[in-house]
């Protein structure tokens, strides 16, 4: 069958290679197209790195200073470019987003791969694709119009968790304003859900079917099979999914900027406003002029973001190398 169609397709073609092919033009062209990617990445990294180090090279800020918790470019005693609040906020907001999203996403991936009947898959999978397609500004808009007022109205009083006998075990001040760490994390957790779900789903599907049937034949329940066989086997795939989700969350700009409140302070409570690397860049880039130290500091933040994402790529590679090796 395959041979038949192939023969049909080749009918009428010259058997001899054309001139272009004899000097190997096609190969060169496609090679160039593929290599252009390296060029783009190299260019991008070089540009951002060059701009990112200007703060140290040109403006004489020491590398240690950017790890100060004080960000005040207008300080009377001279600008202070401490990036720690932004880095800490990026880490914290991303961490809580993953904490919310990972159980949900992995659960959903398990549902799709192990539990769902075909009709349910046919409904859920396209829905996930729509989730991916909803633009970040739309998430931000939903965050402002629905989530932020909801948080402010519902949890304005102190938040206390009480157990029936032990009494209050946890309490913290409520939301003075809905623009907060929590709002940022919630928006991000939904935005990274499709990424984590689809990559974990692939990891679960990659586990050979015989292992499942073998396990079930031994009399284990489906949950025991999932817990003791599927999750351990797919662990590196799930970790990859989480790292990819983390990268997406740390790099998301507009949706977070719209709901997080943009207060350059060190994270202390989940109800407080924060500002992440991306949101601070969005805030200040337009108001500063190319070449002034203030904008150089923003480029340094971009460099930090770039380092975070490259690190995560390396991390994913290491995880997968270990999987292949084991």
């Amino acid at each position: 069958m395959a041979q038949m169609t192939t023969a049909n397709r080749l009918t009428g073609l010259r058997a001899r290679p054309g001139l272009l092919e004899r000097i190997d033009v096609p190969r060169r062209v496609v090679f160039l197209a593929a290599v252009s990617m390296i060029a783009i990445v190299a260019l991008l990294m070089a540009f951002i790195a060059w701009q990112g180090i200007q703060l140290f090279v040109k403006d004489g800020v020491s590398v240690g200073e950017i790890f100060s918790p004080t960000w005040n470019p207008l300080a009377n005693a001279g600008p202070e470019f401490g990036l720690l609040p932004f880095i800490a906020a990026t880490v914290c907001v991303t961490a809580v987003a993953l904490l919310i999203s990972t159980p949900l996403s992995v659960g959903l991936a398990l549902f799709l791969s192990e539990v769902a009947p075909n009709w349910a898959k046919a409904v859920v999978q396209p829905s996930l694709e729509i989730f991916v397609g909803i633009p970040s500004v739309v998430w931000g808009w939903l965050g402002i119009t629905v989530l932020v007022p909801f948080l402010a109205d519902t949890f304005s009083g102190p938040i206390v968790i009480s157990l029936p006998i032990a009494g209050p075990v946890f309490s913290m001040p409520g939301f003075l304003t809905g623009f907060s760490w929590m709002a940022g994390s919630l928006v991000l957790s939904i935005m990274v859900l499709p990424t984590i779900t689809s990559v974990s789903y692939d990891a679960f599907r990659a586990v050979p079917q015989e292992l499942r049937t073998g396990s079930l034949a031994l009399g284990t329940t489906r949950w025991q099979m999932i817990r003791h066989l599927l999750l351990p086997s797919a662990l590196s795939g799930v970790l990859t999914a989480v790292v990819l989700g983390m990268t997406r969350a740390a790099g998301e700009a507009l949706a977070v900027q719209m709901v997080i409140g943009n207060s350059p302070t060190m994270p202390a409570a989940i109800t407080q406003p924060l500002t992440t690397l991306t949101s601070q860049i969005t805030l200040d880039m337009g108001n500063t002029v190319f070449g002034e130290p203030w904008q150089d500091a923003l480029w340094t933040m971009s460099l930090v973001l770039l380092i975070i994402s490259i690190t995560s790529v390396v991390l994913v590679r290491l995880i997968n190398k270990r999987r292949l090796a084991s």
Binding site: I40, A120, P126, F131, T145, T220, T221, L244, L254, M285
Partner: protein, 317 residues
Amino acid sequence: MTATSGSFGRPMAPKPSLRRKSSRGSILADRAATVVLWGTGVLVLLILGSIILHFALAAWGVVSPSFILSDPSETTLGGILPVLWNSIYMLVLTMLIAVPVGVLGGIYMSEYASENAVTSAIRFAEEAISSVPSIVVGLFGLILFVDDAHWGFTALAGALALTFFNLPLMTRLSEQALRAVPQEERSASLALGATKWQTIRHVVVPLAIPGLITGVILTAGRVFGEAAVLLFTSGIGTPPHYNFTNFDLLNPASPWSPFRPATTLSVYIYKLNSEGLGAFKNQIVDGSAAVLISMVLLFNLGARGIGRILTRRLTAS
């Protein structure tokens, strides 16, 4: 209690502990897990359903043919024609650059590449750039095209920055589509005396077309929704009235020209939230968001539909 709270072990083979008979407790745990897993599926559907319902209700009475076909206004509801046009324009411009380069790159990776340092560098670059935050790509475009090249905010600057952003995805999806073509098709073609390039051009690529088109449409959906890249490259403003009969590509006044600022629908939503004026501001945002989501929906359905039709047609021949 969710599915992930179980402890992760290392071994691939079933543990000896699994060999015991299912106890009452383990059956209960299994039931509970099934319920929880169904619950996640239902929850995600509920979230998506309520979001779509939210925008459907919010857009009710806003989105109409005249909303799609009018210029923006501050005193009336107006419309989104120029920004919608810009979104489609940017999409086409970006795809004009990204599709050829992406497909050719995919051909190299699938048909020519051997496992060497260059190939692994390309793969690393692919992964690296798809994980770079879009705002960083936007800033890169800002220095390179807007400032250094003195183009100012232009559609071309935005399209090039978006190409950087989408090329890896396009390349990877093309590579996947090409790899999915069975090896025996290639062997058969080569056995019949076709050259490698003839095989690729007349056998592999045609068979991979459904996958390639799916790749194009999925990449296109991303272009449509992207805002952070374009904020810094193609500009943020209310577009002037477009005269669609002006086809002078070098005239920045022509809506067909790549040398003009082009605020897209996603950027426009951001703009309205930041600087919008007028009593209809919120309705316009809701309407725009609904249009945006519908377009993305159409792209996804389109990708599936076209892929299915082409697969049927090509495999039937």
